[in-house]
Assembly symmetry: C2
């Protein structure tokens, strides 16, 4: 798969929902189960196109049935037309649950993912059905992105790139220009939409100074940026259901030797992770490449989180680059590489790009430049 030079724009390539349904049906035919019951809304969106907040889907023989409530009746019919799903609409939850049982009645074995089903729902269904705990085959399929998906993720990444580039000038603070974390956050989220995003992907992080930048998931507050601060900006956009994810880090004013050294170490870890990322490597090894480099430099206890994760219909999805991961990277994965170093009293740095794994290497979907020292390049 190769990407166009410019960011993709609407209308994007259409999804082939019917092919996805057929592939899943072939898997079901080969299994010992009579039907699949899907409850995860991202799985349901991937399979049928439905984007509402309440639905179940049953795949059984040649039937594909989607149940939803009356808020979404008209939308479900139009969005799922390409999947061939039969849409059932009930206003009341109890009736919608009854219709789910009807769609599955007589099945000897219904496959269901226990990781996305509450114990309450499982127990309730198990009164009437013989359930098989199976990991969702859609979650597995979703890890390998097709061209239509990469287009949307690329457009989301481009919206975040453009917003960040515009907002970086706010970091040149002096007596005449003061700016808070929240003001930067507000501008980023507003500008991503002006650059084509439907929304932000997640609550944007702007973390500054010796305490707040030392918290990897700090929520922006009214703190004003001052000379000497380290600043972490973690920002992504949402386009047609697909997320992007990126982080850039900065020093306000003249960087100290320690700031230059720690930033250089994060940068080296980030580059090593990207160089290592390819089809066939384990997600554990991707994590180890970055983590070992930091450990050898004596900063192991500054490395507070795992090195990355898949991105698609969810902002965090498989594969996960962590020391305990058992996953393997394959072509079509879209993942972050995001080493970070944090220390109370110092602050922190994180660098994160969004990367498409290809047949023969990888390709970055993030194009925002890395300009850690805006005043002193």
């Amino acid at each position: 798969m190769s990407l166009p030079a410019a960011a993709p724009v609407r209308p994007f390539a259409t999804f082939d929902h019917r092919r996805r349904v057929e592939n899943l049906r072939a898997l079901l035919d080969e299994s010992n189960d009579d039907a699949w019951l899907f409850a995860d809304l991202r799985d349901i969106r991937w399979l049928t196109g439905f984007s509402g907040s309440n639905a179940w889907v049953v795949l059984r023989g040649t039937d594909l049935t989607l149940g939803t409530d009356a808020r979404y009746g008209e939308r479900a019919a139009s969005e799922t037309a390409g999947s061939g799903a039969q849409v059932i609409v009930e206003q009341q939850r109890s009736k919608l649950n009854e219709r789910r049982l009807q769609a599955l009645s007589g099945c000897a074995s219904v496959a269901l993912d226990p990781a996305t089903t509450t114990h309450s729902v499982w127990t309730e269904l198990a009164k009437d059905l013989s359930l098989s705990a199976r990991p969702s085959p859609i979650m597995a399929a979703r890890q390998v992105k097709d061209v239509a998906e990469v287009e949307r993720i690329s457009a989301a990444a481009a919206a975040a790139d453009a917003a960040l580039i515009e907002v970086e000038s706010m970091l040149n603070v002096d007596d005449d220009q003061q700016v808070s974390e929240q003001e930067i956050r507000n501008q980023l989220e507003h500008r991503m939409r002006l650059h084509g995003a439907d929304d932000r992907s997640y609550a944007t992080i702007v973390a500054s100074g010796p305490q707040q930048a030392a918290r990897p998931h700090h929520e922006p507050n009214e703190r004003v940026l001052v000379n000497g601060d380290t600043v972490i900006i973690d920002v992504g956009a949402l386009v047609d259901g697909y997320h992007s994810d990126m982080t850039r880090s900065y020093v306000i004013g003249e960087p100290t030797d320690e700031q230059r050294q720690v930033y250089g170490l994060v940068c080296a870890a980030h580059q090593a992770g990207i160089a290592a990322l390819r089809s066939g490597i384990t997600a554990q090894d991707v994590d180890a490449v970055c983590r070992d480099l930091v450990t050898e430099a004596g900063y192991a206890d500054w490395y507070l989180h795992s090195t990355g994760h898949g991105v698609g219909l969810e902002i965090h999805e498989s594969p996960f680059h962590s020391p305990s991961s058992s996953e393997t990277i394959v072509a079509g994965n879209v993942v972050t590489i995001e080493p970070g170093l944090y220390r109370e009293g110092f602050g922190g740095f994180r660098i994160e790009d969004l990367i498409l794994v290809t047949e023969d290497g990888s390709q970055s979907l993030t194009h925002a430049p890395k300009r850690p020292f805006p005043d002193h390049t």
Copy 2:
């Protein structure tokens, strides 16, 4: 409880986490369980103050323990100081899970809510622990808001009120001023922050015209508002973790007789619902008051959703006003009353206020005026 005349501003009243923990401990002492394990992040925030995205909490005897990952170590310690929780931080999920088992080791019966626990997690825990399926006592307690909570919800409602009032002038469309659903949505979300919100409460709905306003949960798109449209704007803010929720409806240009009639019916249902809302009424009856009025007028099949829900740390929480509800309204509940009528080809109207139930009636937290016909008042 009485509210100040003006919207509350920061700093808000502090939460009494220690009292909440003590009340819960008294409940546990009276029960047959040795410990409670909490997994729902809203429950955990309510009990301890922790606002991160990954945690478990164990309440056992005089011990309160919160486990989280290394992204949140420093934040967990500062946020939970008032609750007396002991904070455990582990970088790896597997180790954090081990620490959870340790905190519960030797318990003869661990209470856990099956409605907020996945079947995977339940099954995993059940290998080592004797689990009791119990509805969360925190979710029950969360339904009755204290002064500190009502302050935050009121501030959120006020931010949405102020943003909506400013944005209503965009509805005066003519040849010189065109506006899309998305542009209105963007302005609302931007302006709520300028009026003190941390964020929007949920993805703002702006739904216009004969098709899109007929979808109760339409996602705003590039459609431009034109004369004759019905328009639904459903907007809320988030303040310190607490949500608000409000809907106003409009006609662009001169309303037709049918538009006036349907709007009047929604308005009558809304007023009847608010008049009925009081401590002691069932949530089912609140729904019925609005629904029956619409049914008698011959519009039953335009009434596509239930009549309201509780609002707090979640945008949708108990109690739920629906035909199948078994809940009863009590003083301290903060709930929406939001009847709506929708028809493909016509469009739709919904009116929604956020209401605090008091000892002797109710009090609206929403103050935005209802101006359905901006050009023809």
